[in-house]
Symmetry: C2
């Protein structure tokens, strides 16, 4: 009855699901620093550091670049509710669970939402004919929404082409880079993405709890020309910007989550130390090894070749194998978490994350070895050692 | 230019502002525990512990009691946007900055908002005639909003009477207990409060970042009978409840801020160890000593006697004294943060918090001693040692 009086002792899992990813001890340690007030000049300097590094990671010079005091789904909500007004037309290119979430969120903002569905596991593009037809059908599309790295399917959508399309129809492009930022090429300014948001617990290597967001000049203009109030107080970027402004007149909006900002600063500092390109390269290298290992074990990838997301690999659950039982054994026997399928692919795929600190050679090898043993236990025949050997070849390669 | 590459080294301030309060090392330490996945059964048990202890602290048996993944202002937004539909009538009894924020937030939900203003520094009640007249004027009031412990004025509003009034007019009572929970008597079920929300960084003793919220049966009924969708996805309590449910079928909604939940569990565990009544007593005792000290120094309280909030004391800035300079010296020379006035009392009052771990005898004495020296420096004559001596007498007495 009073388990809650017991000491907190969570097990030390290897986090290879769809996020959160494992967090480096240095980042956890940063959260033990003493709390500062949210208007303390010393805290303001920490906020400045975070904004500078977020701009480097997003590859943007956007002034309005800050971490929302909530998780990634809040970033999606803030992206839509700040620029969409009731009655606006919004188009979503949906090829995963989070595209569907965009549809839900944009409707809650009062938008008239039109969806261009792409089968799960396939990319949106490079053939954008269907999306272009949808854009043409409307007098004015306020925003086009797309998920860059589709966390529920393991697909990486080709962004620059989609951004071009949005701008030809004078629409804002809202791009979800929750799973890609810090683990795949993301270039907000070069691509011309107008609004983009991410989350701290994937490739950035911090705990969950914050959602970095950035708005370019076109989006800021739309924000400034709104006729109605933003329906959310908490996510109202015009006011948040006055708190996150890099001048001496910060205006209180809400109490910032101080310890989480400390963690984000330390995680971003580790990204800077590693180098963004080197980090993206690490995510690519480890993902390639994982895929080589899985394919050597006879498993079938879910996402289309050429559009596979490095931070998150999706693979079909082999016929006759009990999805939940495999994940349970991985968790309970080998202390490894992987993700199951979400939505329409629940029970059909596994989602194996190699994000942030979780993206390491040792995790790839430990996971392949554990999976082999669990599959053998489940009566699924795989060549012993084949997965690990293939991964090793890929890593040396 | 690259300060962001430097080690994170925030100073160790004594936090005696309006929150955040200082956080005990045990609570900070809890955040260094390894991250678990948000659907891990081991994390589910931690969530259960948090819910059980939140119910104890709120004094409620409400099933829908959970911490929102955002700060206290988000609690206010969630409270209104879940039960208010466009066109509903909402009445706010406003006697501080956060009452005004309630007006703003309820309007953003599409409510027709009516305000009963009470001068800042005065309580809402016990004379509720003006509020009752406002309630009578409308065919149907959906919700009555009031702040229990007014953080911008230091006033504690008498809740049970206000709850009775709301229910006589069949309105839901929404009570903000951000500053009072854990530091003043709060009895959600006995008082019949329908929706209440708090924040972790005040008297609960955790870092900022979460907002505990609780909904009683009347509120849940209103939630279930909504005709329109809740405008916020992120704060939609019907879905959040399926994730926070105490059964085996937790459904993913968003990735919970794992480390913050660890911190909240540890902070609540410390509340349990101390005892809720003892904790409230500690807040009262230290606040009494602080007031005795301030009055002995010739300073004038801002809030009406009999309605002063123990976690936060408000005092008028003496004539001729430079508000900002005093606070700067306290911060830079004595490492003590206190709050300035917000909104219409900016520059006119100081807000001195004794919340959670910050509510200690040593903080009271250190602050009074530092304030005396700063005021003397500023040319304001006070009897040397008088404040500290009066506080000591109060503590012994």
């Amino acid at each position: 009855m009073s388990d809650y009086l017991n000491e907190l002792k969570p097990p030390h899992r290897i986090l290879m699901g769809a996020g959160p990813s494992s967090v480096h001890p240095r980042v956890l340690q940063a959260m033990t620093a003493p709390i500062l007030g949210h208007l303390d000049p010393d805290f303001a300097r920490i906020m400045d550091d975070v904004m500078v590094m977020l701009r480097i990671v997003f590859k943007t010079s956007n002034s309005l670049t800050l971490p929302l005091s909530a998780t990634g789904s809040a970033g999606m909500e803030a992206a839509f509710c700040n620029v969409v007004e009731p009655g606006d037309t919004v188009v979503i290119a949906a090829n995963d669970y989070f595209g569907d979430r965009m549809v839900d969120i944009a409707s809650r903002c009062g938008a008239e939402v039109h969806t261009v569905d792409v089968p799960w596991g396939k990319p949106v593009g490079p053939d954008l004919a269907a999306l272009e037809r949808e854009m043409q059908r409307h007098r004015k599309v306020k925003a086009l929404g797309v998920v860059h790295g589709a966390t529920s399917t393991g697909v990486l959508n080709p962004m620059p082409e989609i951004a071009d399309l949005a701008h030809r129809y004078d629409a804002l492009l809202i791009a979800d880079v929750v799973t890609s930022l810090g683990g795949e090429e993301v270039d907000i300014d070069l691509w011309g993405v107008d609004i983009s948001y991410s989350a701290t617990q994937k490739c950035l290597g911090a705990p969950p709890g914050l959602s970095p967001i950035t708005l370019g000049p076109r989006a800021v203009e739309v924000l400034n020309k709104r006729k109605t109030k933003v329906q959310s107080f908490y996510f109202n970027l015009a006011n948040l910007e006055t708190y996150w402004s890099e001048n001496q007149n910060r205006v209180y909006h809400h109490t910032a989550p101080i310890s989480m900002i400390y963690a984000l600063r330390e995680a971003l500092r580790m990204v800077m130390e590693e180098g963004l390109e080197e980090r993206i390269g690490r995510h690519a290298r480890n993902a390639a090894a994982l895929r080589a290992g899985l394919e050597a074990m006879g498993l079938e990838m879910f996402a289309d070749p050429g559009y596979r997301l490095n931070p998150l690999t999706t693979v079909r659950v082999p016929g006759g194998v009990n999805d939940a039982e495999v994940r349970r054994q991985l968790r309970e026997v080998y202390n490894i978490e992987i993700g199951g399928g979400l939505g329409e692919v629940a029970g059909l795929i596994w989602r194996i994350g190699l994000m942030g600190d979780s993206s390491s050679e040792s995790n790839v090898l430990a996971f392949l070895s554990a999976l082999e043993r669990v599959l053998l236990d489940e009566g699924y025949e795989v060549a012993r050692g084949g997965g690990v050997a293939a991964a090793q070849r890929s890593l040396v390669g």
